[in-house]
């Protein structure tokens, strides 16, 4: 059973006011600024032009620079990022992740409840996972279910 999203108000939102303030400042700047009328593309095909520009081919109707080098660099960056991600997530030789005993699926909120749930196969229900903050749930699914409904 899943829970509905709830609006979680509290003091942790205070830093968000800074973001709001930034938006206010930006809006003030944007709205007071004036721009000339946009030039637009006059109905020229945009997507094919992007393709021509990116591979440095003749035929694009819209003026632009050549992006072949940038394309290749992005390619390299992507490969490097892929390699880095694989390296970071690498498992050790015996199949375990580096520095951890087992994989957790509860978002890492509570180590104790997870180990308890693994120890007791019967309690491995959805309600068990969503209510893992309550230590009482570890005793059994019978008590866990009403708690989960209460939370709903």
């Amino acid at each position: 059973m899943t829970t509905r999203p709830r609006l979680n108000l509290g003091s942790h939102l205070i830093p968000g006011l800074v973001a709001l303030a930034l938006f206010v400042v930006l809006a003030l700047v944007f709205l007071t600024a004036s721009f000339p009328a946009p030039q637009g593309f006059d109905g020229a095909p945009i997507t094919p032009s992007i393709g021509y520009a990116m591979f440095d081919l003749a035929g694009g109707q819209i003026p632009s620079e050549s992006f072949l080098i940038a394309f290749e660099i992005i390619d390299l960056v992507l490969i490097a990022a892929l390699a880095a991600a694989v390296m970071l997530a690498r498992r050790e030789g015996d199949g375990k992740l580096v520095g951890i005993e087992e994989i957790r699926t509860d978002g890492g909120h509570s180590r104790d409840s997870t180990t308890d749930a693994d120890a007791d196969p019967d309690s491995g229900s959805d309600a068990e996972v969503t209510n893992d903050t309550d230590p009482n749930t570890a005793t059994g699914s019978d008590t866990a279910t009403p708690t989960g409904e209460e939370a709903n």
């Binding site: 830093p15 800074v18 973001a19 930034l22 400042v25 930006l26 003030l28 700047v29 007071t32 600024a33």
Partner: protein, 680 residues
């Protein structure tokens, strides 16, 4: 003068710096490689000082040929508009004479040390010979210094070396303490000297001794012409008053180094050092440095009758004061220490009384006979297995004939018995003091004190000789003395001959009586660089200082002082000449206690140091602790405190950093926008 001659003349002066550099090289060799040599660095020292002696003699011969040398060799600091600090070489009759004296005594002391230190199996010999080398280097460089700044530098180096050497046996209690005392007491005087050097620079813009731009010449022009005086800044005082103040400031260093009252207290304690070191310090280097400095810049002192009178009075008083203390001492080296103070008093008296030649003469003869006496005492100490109490000696005459006869020659010279060296020089000092003193009561008092000191000198000298060498041996050690070797006897014989005959170079009374031209030292010092010879000093004394000499036969004064010296010697003979002399000084009662305690000089100086010194030190400590340290600690505690507060911003939580970044961006946008008019 032919071309070849000119070139050799120049070459003698070219190599003159080597006179000082050779001992410096021996210092380095002895210090770093001394322990690998069979004699632990002694041979390097002997070779170096022997070389210095030969070079000095060469320079002296060249100077005798009428050539002089005054050159800068190394400039330390040069400022185009005001003044420069440089090292230079000034070779004129005075410095050439002194170079020979210093290098000769230093050479003989090195030879003697072979017997006194090496043969006695002393430890730390490389350190010892390194100290001797550095000492010789400092003194020789001091002697040929061409300006006051260089003099000061090597003056201080001499003080440092005396500290090193007096404290040679640093594992015992007394030598380190004596070394510290020597260092601190002379340093007290050197403070004034330092201020004086700075003041000379501030006044004249130069500190050179010789040449038309030297400070004595500038001072003389300021006083005689009157016109040039306006260019010199005399700090609101009259020119002559200010020159007197300058003279006094420099005199502070002289009084400290030359052990004049009241800064003489370090010298008797300095006897804790090895005896050859005492000989070196007393005869040729450290103590002589003070008097030599006055002689070197005599053209400046001759301008100030007040400074001269003070020099003379201090000298005369010190001569008598120290001689009286020497009367009761039991330690043979202590007697010699007080006699040194007394003799340097005579030199100061001579300088102050206008007897420049007389004082230099006494400096020269004293260097020889005092080195002889100390080395003789060293030989006695070797023989006595390092016992120094004269009451444990006696009867050494038969066992140590060479030592006895040379020591006797030195004693006769010290007591001033004709025809030994001390007679001629001391007599001339007293004669100069008398002829100038007849018109000046202060000088006359100084002369009278010096005259009385002659009697004491004769007495304590012969008390020392009689107690040491005559009578029956009073201890087992004195009956079986350790006989010294050739390296002890050789310096004694050389110095004994010199102490006997060196006075004959300047027999003023004989010259006066016979009319012969035999005052060689007068002739020697009369020529020289312009403005730096005794003739010029005599003119200055008459015209500027207002000294006038009474007409008096030197024979009369000589007869008087000789009679007093013989009287003192005779009294000593009658009291101590028996086989078993009594301790006659005990009969002096309270006076003996006073003299044994050196007039309580140490006590009152310690009292002054403790009362005022501790007070000043406490005040400065408080200032240092509260204001200086307070400011430093305040700065650090403010930054510590604020750092401790501000670091709490660094929570380590990414969100907070992001918040701060965003806040900064908003603030930046607002500032840029407001100043750039974006919101209008």
């Amino acid at each position: 003068m032919s071309v070849a001659e000119a070139s050799t003349t120049a070459f003698a002066f070219e190599v003159a710096p080597a006179i000082a550099v050779l001992p410096l090289a021996s210092f380095v060799i002895a210090l770093f490689a001394g322990k690998y040599f069979p004699k632990k660095g002694a041979l390097a020292g002997v070779t170096a000082t022997g070389g210095s002696l030969l070079l000095s003699l060469w320079v002296m011969l060249t100077v005798a040929g009428g050539a002089y040398y005054n050159e800068e060799i190394y400039t330390l600091v040069s400022t185009p508009e005001s003044f420069d600090l440089h090292f230079g070489v000034l070779l004129d009759p005075l410095s050439a004479l002194m170079l020979v004296i210093v290098s000769l005594v230093s050479f003989l002391v090195h030879v003697f040390s072979l017997g006194y230190m090496n043969d006695e199996g002393e430890r730390g010999l490389p350190r010892y010979y390194a100290g001797l080398g550095l000492f010789s280097f400092s003194m020789l460089a001091f002697v040929f210094a061409d300006n006051l700044f260089m003099s000061f530098v090597f003056f201080e180096l001499v003080g440092l070396c005396s500290w090193l050497l007096i404290g040679h046996w640093y594992r015992e209690d007394a030598p380190p303490s004596a070394a510290k005392k020597a260092f601190l007491v002379t340093r007290f005087g050197d403070y004034f000297f330092l201020i004086g050097v700075v003041a000379v620079f501030a006044t004249f813009g130069t500190a050179t001794f010789a040449g038309s731009e030297s400070f004595p010449v500038l001072a003389e022009e300021a006083l005689t012409d009157g016109g040039a005086g306006g260019e010199l800044s005399t700090f609101g005082l009259g020119a002559q008053t200010w020159f007197t103040v300058l003279g006094f400031l420099i005199l502070g260093g002289v009084i400290g180094k030359s052990a004049q009252f009241p800064l003489h207290t370090w010298l008797p304690d300095a006897m804790e050092g090895p005896t050859p070191v005492s000989a070196l310090i007393h005869a040729a280097t450290m103590v002589a440095a003070g008097v030599y400095l006055v002689a070197r810049m005599y053209g400046f002192y001759a301008l100030s009758p007040t400074a001269l009178a003070v020099i003379a009075f201090v000298g005369g008083f010190t001569a008598l004061f120290a001689a009286s203390m020497a009367v009761v001492k039991r330690d043979v080296k202590q007697v010699l220490a007080y006699s040194t103070i007394s003799q340097y008093g005579y030199m100061m008296l001579g300088l102050g009384a206008g007897g420049y030649v007389a004082a230099v003469f006494h400096l020269m003869t004293h260097a020889f006979f005092k080195a002889l006496l100390f080395l003789g005492a060293g030989a006695v100490i070797i023989a006595m297995h390092h016992r120094q109490d004269m009451w444990e000696m006696g009867g050494l005459r038969e066992k140590l004939p060479v030592t006895y006869y040379t020591f006797l020659a030195g004693s006769l010279a010290l007591a001033g018995i004709v025809p030994f060296a001390g007679f001629w020089s001391k007599d001339e000092v007293l004669y100069e003091a008398l002829v100038h003193g007849l018109t000046d009561p202060l000088l006359l008092v100084a002369y009278l004190m010096g005259l009385i000191a002659v009697f004491f000198t004769g007495f304590y000298t012969f008390r020392m000789v009689l107690l040491t060498f005559h009578g029956e041996p009073r201890t087992h050690t004195a009956r079986n003395p350790h006989l010294p070797g050739w390296n002890v006897k050789f310096p004694l014989v050389v110095l004994g001959i010199l102490a006997t005959v060196i006075g004959l170079t300047n027999m003023t009374p004989v010259a006066e009586a016979t009319g012969l031209e035999i005052e060689f030292l007068h002739t020697w010092l009369e020529h020289g660089i312009e403005g730096l010879n005794s003739e010029h000093y005599g003119e200055l004394l008459e015209t500027v200082a207002g000294y006038s000499a009474a007409e008096l036969s030197p024979l009369l004064a000589a007869a008087l002082s000789l009679a007093l010296a013989l009287g003192g010697a005779g009294l000593a003979y009658s009291l101590y000449s028996g086989d078993r002399p009594d301790r006659h000084t005990d009969r002096l009662g309270d006076a003996r206690t006073l003299l044994m305690n050196n007039y309580y000089q140490d006590e009152y100086q310690v009292w002054i140091a403790e009362t005022f010194g501790t007070g000043v030190a406490r005040l400065s400590d408080r200032f240092d602790q509260s204001i200086v340290d307070g400011a430093v600690n305040g700065v650090s505690s403010v930054s510590l405190f604020s750092g401790g507060r501000i670091r709490r911003i660094q929570t380590g939580i990414v969100s907070n950093y992001a918040t701060l970044l965003t806040l900064g961006l908003v603030a930046l946008l607002l500032v840029v926008g407001l100043t750039g008019g974006w919101f209008l």
